[in-house]
């Protein structure tokens, strides 16, 4: 046995009462990921959004959050999986989803903020969205759920109890569901396996007459289960582009 291995064994044995396997690396947990279909983003995310965990996509308006979420759902529905969009602001655009390739018959859209009857409890949009997400996560069977809080004021979102996010994390893990939260700020804190910051870069035009594409920046703020130990060379920020639906139609 080499001297270094012997030395390590001796040290570990002397410390085993306090630190089990002190000098042996902890076995890595390989987390399953689901690709977004955007090469630059998938490279940044080490394969895609984690399955069975919460991911947060944080950014201001026009930062490409919705486009990225729809691209992700398009990939998931193409695999004959069911997805859900919990729409706290009622801002979901089915035409954009269809243009992104989302199979609408496999997408459950929950439009919060509906008029309630007198005898029913009057929940706010945020409360409705949280309850709906809870039900969908507990029901299971959905490969991805997008909780769209992009229109919710961050001060309101910050009031969501951490216990709620913890429960979501447990349920997502149990049902192997990717919960993607869109917001202006990060709300899930330690329950989130991944937090991404989205930023707008520029919108491109064609000949000054038509909007052609948008370029967006994405940076990784937090990743709980990195797939590679040594990724210092990898830039934490990536840029990606999305074309306008009509630009594609024109070229086609």
């Amino acid at each position: 046995m080499p001297a270094s291995a012997t030395l390590r064994l001796q040290i570990e044995r002397s410390l085993e009462a306090r630190f089990p396997a002190a000098l042996t690396p902890v076995p890595r947990t390989i987390r399953e990921t689901a690709a977004t279909g955007i090469a630059a983003v998938d490279e940044l995310l080490d394969g895609g959004f984690p399955v069975g965990a919460i991911s947060e996509l944080v950014g201001p308006s026009c930062s490409g959050r919705t486009s990225l979420a729809l691209a992700f759902l398009a990939e998931r529905t193409a695999e004959e999986r069911f997805c859900a969009w919990v729409d706290a602001e009622d801002a979901f655009d089915p035409e954009s989803a269809a243009a992104s390739g989302v199979l609408l018959e496999q997408l459950l859209w929950v439009r919060c903020g509906g008029a309630k009857k007198e005898r029913e409890k009057n929940w706010t949009r945020l409360e409705q969205a949280l309850k709906a997400t809870d039900l969908l996560l507990q029901a299971g069977g959905f490969a991805a759920i997008v909780l769209d809080l992009a229109g919710i004021d961050p001060t309101e979102g910050m009031r969501i109890p951490l216990a709620t996010w913890f429960r979501y994390r447990q349920a997502a893990d149990r049902t192997r569901c990717s919960l993607l939260v869109l917001g202006r700020a990060s709300y899930a804190q330690s329950s989130a396996a991944m937090v991404l910051d989205a930023e707008p870069m520029r919108l491109e035009e064609v000949g000054g007459t038509m909007l052609h594409a948008g370029a967006f920046a994405l940076s990784r703020r937090r990743q709980r289960f990195p797939q590679q130990w040594n990724n210092a060379r990898k830039p934490p920020t990536s840029t990606w582009t999305a074309s306008a639906p009509w630009a594609v139609e024109q070229s086609a």
């Binding site: 979420a69 999986r81 089915p94 199979l103 609408l104 459950l108 069977g141 992009a150 035009e205 948008g214």
Partner: protein, 497 residues
């Protein structure tokens, strides 16, 4: 050829049994069922506890009211009709040939069980199974087995429990039964009473010729019946599968929970009946008669036929909570449509999908939270009118039928309801706009993209601009502005995101 075998199923005091069947809380109390016009009501049926308190049939309402703690319930012919169908279904599990022999307030069916011994065992075991099946449906019945149709019928009507009459010993089995079991007129019964003839055994012992000389040819049949030798031309009835249960409440029910308490028993009974035929409940139609003459209807359509009682009850609970009756409920009727229980082949490598029955409950709960028509799978309508889509029910069985290819596109975030804005124009192009108290300078505007349609009715004529703007802090904003050309009104339609 196997010898004949008839099984008679006799449910005595049927009106009382029917009413207590869906009201188990009353089973330990004395109960009498009243029948007749309002001021001339008499007791037509009663349970064992009522008999012990001294109540008897034909007792007037006033006399019945004098008995302490006696619960009096009006007779419900509708419930009796449904219960009769249930008892008939129970009997049909053992033989397809059934004849009804009900008399008075009792409900009696006679089964031709000839040749069924191989399926259900000997007559005694078959009678026991039949009695258990009836008990599980909520009926207390007497069962008699005999090779003679009438012997079985009369023995079941007069003896509780299970009685087996050995072939050739019918006369002995019937000898102590009262002659009231024969269809005698009051005059004939009085004559026999004067003669001191009280039992069938005494009747059978009378000389045939003398009896016929006094009462005519019918006397010969009485004598044969009394001796257990009367022949019978079996006239089978066809039991139709009608999964319907009805319950009329003694007093109007206002609470949904109380309603569900009864509905749970009804669903339980319906599922049991469907299961006995290897079927499942495909849909439930719930009809309620309300105070004031109105009616209320709920329809439940599970994604797949189910035999899960809790699941069906939960669906009904959520549906009733979403659409509560507007007045107290007087009666409840539930009718089930049946289908074949689904069989799904699962695969180890197949993608996960929501469990259909669980998805039904989840969707119902979601509808209760966000409102009706706000949950479902979006479907685009075939029109150029903006915002044209509808929501349809999400079905877990749906898989990718379309051939859409995933692509990276700029998405829109719609503003609902549309926000009116003030727009400053430079020529025809928008130059700046005000939204919610903030001013946005437009750097680039692409358009106008015009669309119009439905000129004959509900016409629209819109002009859209894709706009890149900045606010006072310099933060960029991409949005979609639209001008309603019919009313010359600007509004903020969506944001690029």
């Amino acid at each position: 050829m196997s010898r004949e075998l008839y099984l008679a199923v006799h449910a005595a005091e049927f009106p009382a049994q029917v009413l207590l069947r869906l009201r188990p809380e009353l089973r330990s109390q004395p109960v009498a069922v009243l029948d007749g016009p309002a001021l001339q009501q008499t007791v037509c049926a009663l349970n064992r506890h009522a008999k012990q308190r001294g109540a008897v049939q034909e007792m007037t309402r006033l006399e019945a009211e004098a008995i302490q703690d006696l619960q009096m319930i009006p007779r419900s012919m509708a419930e009796e009709a449904q219960a009769r169908a249930v008892l008939l279904e129970c009997a049909a599990q053992f033989s397809p040939r059934i004849e009804e022999a009900s008399q008075g307030t009792a409900c009696t069916f006679v089964l031709d069980a000839t040749g069924s011994e191989r399926l259900f065992g000997p007559a005694g075991a078959m009678a026991e199974k039949l009695r258990r099946a009836a008990a599980s449906a909520g009926f207390r019945v007497a069962v008699a087995a005999s090779a003679n149709f009438h012997a079985a019928r009369m023995k079941a009507a007069s003896t509780p429990g299970i009685v087996l009459i050995t072939s050739g010993e019918e006369a002995m089995a019937l000898e102590k039964l009262p002659i009231a079991l024969l269809d005698l007129s009051s005059e004939q019964a009085e004559t026999f009473s004067v003669w001191g003839i009280q039992t069938l055994g005494q009747m059978a012992a009378l000389p045939k010729n003398d009896l016929v000389a006094r009462f005519g040819a019918q006397a010969s049949r009485w004598r044969a019946l009394a001796a257990g030798k009367a022949s019978h031309n079996f006239q089978p009835i066809e039991p139709t599968l009608e999964l319907r249960e009805f319950c009329e409440f003694d007093s109007p029910v206002e609470e949904i929970d109380a309603l569900l308490f009864v509905a749970a028993r009804i669903i339980d009974s319906l599922v049991t009946r469907a299961t006995q035929r290897s079927l499942a409940v495909a849909s439930l139609a719930v009809d309620m008669r309300l105070e004031g003459g109105a009616s209320h209807r709920l329809a439940l359509h599970p994604a797949i036929p189910s035999v899960d009682r809790k699941f069906l009850l939960k669906l009904l609970h959520l549906e009733a909570a979403a659409h509560p009756p507007q007045a107290a409920v007087l009666s409840l009727s539930i009718e089930a449509d049946v289908g074949h229980a689904s069989k799904m082949q699962l695969g180890l490598f197949a993608p996960q999908t929501p469990e259909p029955s669980r998805l039904d409950v989840t969707l119902a709960r979601l509808r209760a939270i966000v409102g009706e028509d706000r949950v479902g799978a979006p479907e685009l309508e075939d029109t150029h009118r903006p915002h044209s889509f509808r929501l349809r029910a999400l079905h877990a069985a749906n898989t990718a039928s379309a051939s859409a290819q995933p692509a990276t596109r700029i998405a829109l975030r719609r503003v609902r309801p549309l926000r009116p804005i003030q727009v400053m124009l430079h020529g025809e192009k928008p130059k700046s706009f005000h939204d919610e108290g903030r001013r946005y300078l437009i750097a680039s505007a692409y358009g106008p993209w015009r669309s119009s349609g439905c000129w004959s009715q509900e016409a629209w004529d819109a002009e859209e601009w894709d706009v890149l703007a900045t606010d006072s802090t310099g933060a960029p904003l991409g949005c979609l502005l639209a001008r309603d050309r019919l009313h010359n009104a600007w509004r903020l339609e969506a944001f690029f995101d």
